[in-house]
């Protein structure tokens, strides 16, 4: 675990509602998260669990139809809920930056790498063109791109997927942000390229003493890079804590179920069946009461239909389940 830096991102009771035909979709339901400087927090979950909407809500980038509420949403002590759009624009790209999944769609195909890198820097008034250019070259070199000066004149299509993602990361770092939010930054890449990008993110996070919030569906990535993990299901954080505890001794049946679903070389014998999570995610339209996982949970009891309180364990480990103390073991 990295040392306890100051609390940088503090989110309490975040809700995101999206109006849909036939009601309101409660996509994010009472999510509380925090990230300190020098810490990597991973938000993990399957499609539709609300992890991407959570990250967009933090950045204030939700679609116009979505409604955001929160008891608290602050960056370095500054309240983001009451911040003006102008102030938010000043913070985004400067104090908090985002790395998106697909580098082909978040880079402008008609502008050079150099233009796109320097734009944020100039826009936030960090210095003149000369300084912006120097910073861009330095960062491109830092993210492992050879011949950085020549890259400035290149267009995105001239780069491979892995290099484009390196450019996007360099872009996010131009103003030296306190917080970097990365939403599935390596999902579009090959495993060998993915590893390089993850190593780079981890190094930069340490070097620049940033908070890194990484959103992914891949438990392997989470286990290897996270200091702390938040597991999301149906719009809620169902388990949260230090990666070693959440993966070593998961307390929520959904976390346990997810871990049993993935084949592990050397441990899953050829031809053995994997664990499964039967059933489907409940509809998030309308009112939901009780544990959202109870319809698929092998341990479900009548009491699960009542609202479930969050339980706390040591080292900031918390989970939303009524099951008594003992660790869940893998079903034989």
């Amino acid at each position: 675990m990295s040392g306890a830096g100051d609390l940088l991102l503090d989110v309490q009771g975040l809700e995101v509602d999206i109006p849909v035909a036939g009601g309101t979709l409660h996509a994010v339901r009472g999510v509380s998260l925090s990230a300190r400087r020098g810490e990597t927090l991973c938000i993990v979950g399957e499609s539709g669990c609300g992890k991407s909407l959570t990250s967009l809500a933090l950045m204030g980038l939700l679609p116009a139809s979505a409604k955001r509420r929160a008891e608290r949403l602050s960056l370095a002590g500054e309240d983001l809920m009451s911040a003006s759009p102008r102030r938010l624009r000043a913070l985004r790209g400067d104090r908090m930056a985002m790395v998106f999944q697909d580098p082909m769609t978040c880079l402008n195909p008609s502008l050079t790498i150099g233009d796109q890198l320097t734009e944020t820097f100039l826009r936030h008034g960090k210095g003149n063109r000369r300084a912006a250019r120097d910073r861009a070259v330095a960062l491109l070199e830092r993210v492992g791109m050879a011949a950085a000066t020549n890259r400035l004149g290149q267009y995105p299509h001239q780069l491979s997927g892995g290099l484009r993602q390196r450019v996007v990361i360099a872009m996010a770092l131009m103003c030296g942000p306190d917080l970097v939010l990365a939403d599935e930054p390596t999902t579009a890449l090959d495993a060998t390229i993915q590893l390089g990008i993850l190593q780079l993110l981890a190094e930069l996070q340490r070097e620049m003493h940033m908070a890194l919030v990484l959103v992914t569906h891949d438990l392997g990535i989470v286990a290897r890079i996270a200091d702390r993990v938040a597991v999301m299901y149906a719009g809620e954080v169902v388990e949260e804590g230090p990666a070693s505890i959440v993966f070593g001794a998961p307390r929520h049946p959904y976390t346990r179920g997810l871990m049993d679903c993935i084949p592990q070389p050397g441990r899953t014998a050829p031809g053995t069946r994997l664990g499964t999570i039967p059933g489907m995610v409940p509809s998030l339209v309308g009112d939901l009461r009780g544990c959202s996982f109870r319809g698929r949970c092998p341990y479900a009891m009548p009491v699960c239909a009542e609202p479930v309180a969050v339980r706390d364990g040591p080292d900031g480990h918390a989970w939303r389940c009524v099951l008594p103390g003992e660790t869940l073991v893998r079903a034989a």
């Binding site: 286990a223 084949p263 050829p270």
Partner: protein, 335 residues
């Protein structure tokens, strides 16, 4: 000649494309597949692994008869694929593709999608086809009520079950699965992988299973072939190839598998970042610009795919001359 020919055999298969559109652009040849020889025996699962652009999907398309090789032969059940009629071919080999969102016709219901191969080939009467569809639904774990549903009403996992049912309705011997679970969530992926294992046992199927996820391949495949820039660089029994890889590329692929083990941290990446470009394949061993064990011979001379002492084949100079150069055992990295 043995009595039973392998269900699929590739002999020195090449596929070249001419690229370079536009008035001024020079025409260039892209070699997607460069001399691949492989076979899949009946009842066997061959895993095919490699990064994007290594030619694995082009190879799959040639096995399905969707592309013709520029050179070399594709044999299904011992006969050249071009000599087979469409129905004959369809009864031997069928595909399951990656994305069940784009591989199913959104305007047809599930029964029509699964029954289409039968209807196209005029197999059986309408009533027999209905029975066959119903049987398929049960086989892949869908309820009879799903027959009337449209793809948009199904989840990703259900759609992939429909795609599998459609592939099996002609009762093929070989199913070519091209990244069948990459678009799915992990909890759905495990259901589909279990289903593929069950179906193989029940129907005695052979799979050619293409995936970039070595953990998935390890669970399913009896034999594994690794491809790099259009060539097979290592091939053999899965236990040997994935347990003791002899080619540095296979070792690197294995090292990049991230298991959910927080005590391990991120493994060290020993591969160079030079992106493999099929339009300019490096001379000698195509892998040498990224290889952690490269030596003077590699850029000069392309290694042949030769038998390894431990079994299987590998295309690496280190394997050819075990007494010279750095010890190949040093390449094996614990996952």
């Amino acid at each position: 000649m043995s009595a039973i020919p392998p269900i699929l055999e590739l002999r020195g298969v090449h596929k070249r494309y001419t690229v370079g559109a536009g008035m001024l652009a020079r025409r260039r040849t892209l070699t997607a597949v460069a001399g691949v020889s492989l076979k899949v025996d009946r009842g066997e699962v061959l895993g095919l692994v490699g990064e994007s652009g290594c030619g694995k999907s082009t190879l799959a398309r040639m096995m399905l008869g969707l592309e013709e090789p520029s050179e070399g032969e594709v044999l299904l059940d011992g006969r050249p694929i071009g000599s087979l009629g469409r129905l004959e071919r369809g009864r031997l080999v069928q595909p399951v593709f990656q994305d069940p969102y784009s591989s199913l016709n959104p305007r047809r219901n599930v029964a029509a999608i699964i029954g289409l191969p039968l209807a196209v080939h005029g197999v059986g009467t309408a009533a027999e086809r209905r029975d066959a569809v119903e049987e398929m639904l049960g086989l892949v774990g869908l309820a009879p009520r799903h027959a009337e549903a449209f793809p948009s009403q199904l989840s990703g996992g259900q759609r992939q079950r429909v795609a599998i049912a459609r592939a099996l309705v002609l009762r093929p011997t070989l199913v070519v699965c091209d990244e069948p679970t990459s678009a799915l969530d992990v909890s759905v992926q495990s259901q589909i992988l279990n289903l593929l294992l069950d179906l193989r046992e029940k129907l005695g199927l052979s799979y050619l299973f293409i995936s970039h996820n070595l953990a998935v391949v390890q669970m399913l495949a009896g034999r594994v072939a690794a491809m790099y820039l259009g060539r097979v660089v290592e091939e053999g029994v899965a236990e040997r190839v994935l347990g003791h890889p002899r080619h540095p590329y296979t070792a690197a692929l294995l090292a990049s598998v991230l298991t959910p083990d927080p005590s391990l941290g991120l493994p060290e990446m020993r591969l160079g970042t030079a992106f493999p470009n099929p339009l300019s394949v490096p001379p000698g061993c195509a892998f040498h610009p990224r290889c952690p064990a490269v030596f003077d011979r590699c850029p000069r001379e392309a290694p042949a795919l030769l038998p390894c002492p431990e079994g299987g084949r590998a295309a690496c100079h280190l394997v050819e001359q075990p007494e010279g150069g750095p010890p190949p055992a040093g390449l094996v990295q614990a996952a």
